[in-house]
Amino acid sequence: MNHKLLALAGALALAQAMVHAQTSSTDEIAKYRQMLADGNPAELWEMRGEELWKTKAGPNQVSLERCDLGLGPGVVKGAYVTLPRYFKDVNKVMDLEARLVYCRTTLQGLTQAEATQTPFGSTAKQSTIEALVAYITSESRGMKMAAPTGHPLEKQAYEDGKKLFYLRGGSHDFACATCHSADGKRIRLQELPNILNPANAQMAYTTWPAYRVSQGEVRTMQHRLNDCYRQQRFPEPVYASDALTALTMFLAKNAEGGVYAAPALKR
């Protein structure tokens, strides 16, 4: 009896010590991130994106400076924190990446295929989209997240996004909610934001896009969601599709009031 109790007490003490060791690991990783905060290579993408925004391109040889991101033609400042939103000209809700495709096809005259080409860049092939998104989002830094849900289609997009968030399926029974609906959870040492907790949702949403040090590229929200779905063992989302706009709306609304702080830097 006593032996068993002692063994159990020993095991508990050991478990406690190990929890302690892991807490210090996550603290150290926080320090690591702090050391990288100054001098984010994403600034290089922001610079290139601003250049691309102002450069005449496409068959129509016009810049994107007349693109309406929701605050009027050419207004970039503060546009991102009000996306996704309803656009009257297309009678639907669009997120930033869907809207950019729209502007590049309608203003610059690119085909849909051209405007969605290389959404995710690589060493061999830089992405125009990632640079444009880095520039546009950087122009909302310091502002509060305020995705609107006043229009019925905006509300509907939010509800559709919520349905996707909870959808369980595939070989592993995973939903977004499997990893992102409880506080204080981690995969390995990677902390998982609880999207149902406003503080977590804000922290997560306001730090995308991000320069991913593991990839050496700036990645957009769409890339983040694609990679979530990949790990969820789901098929691949179509770039700038309605489903992803809906899910993005769900995330953006949950992050309402958070101070936008991207492009950020992540592992």
Partner: protein, 103 residues
């Protein structure tokens, strides 16, 4: 060649702090592409920082400096408005120079 650098040079007291971000892949020569073929080494090997015409830092990099390199250092003797220029040269002989004013 290459994308522009991001250079910040800020004066505090009599010291100028320079922070530079360079867009460069810094290929080690040890990485493989999707097809399994080795990607040849291609990295910045030299960087020279000048304040007006005076060299304030002369660096050599190996392939193990991170992709999109960041460098910060401090020197004395600069004044607001002075130009700081940075030149890098990579193993293929490509080179790029950018400059910024001290603020």
């Amino acid at each position: 060649m290459g994308n522009p650098m991001r250079i910040r040079a800020s004066l505090t007291g009599d010291t100028v702090e320079v922070k530079v971000l360079m867009r460069h892949d810094m290929e080690t020569g040890l990485r493989k592409d999707a097809a399994g073929a080795l990607i040849p080494a291609l990295f910045i090997k030299n960087l020279v920082a000048k304040h007006k015409d005076k060299v304030v830092l002369d660096a050599n990099f190996g392939p193990s400096v991170s992709k999109d390199p960041f460098l910060s250092f401090k020197f004395k003797g600069g004044a607001a408005g002075d130009k700081v220029s940075i030149t890098w040269t990579d193993t293929a002989g490509d080179s790029r120079t950018d400059e910024a004013s001290i603020t």
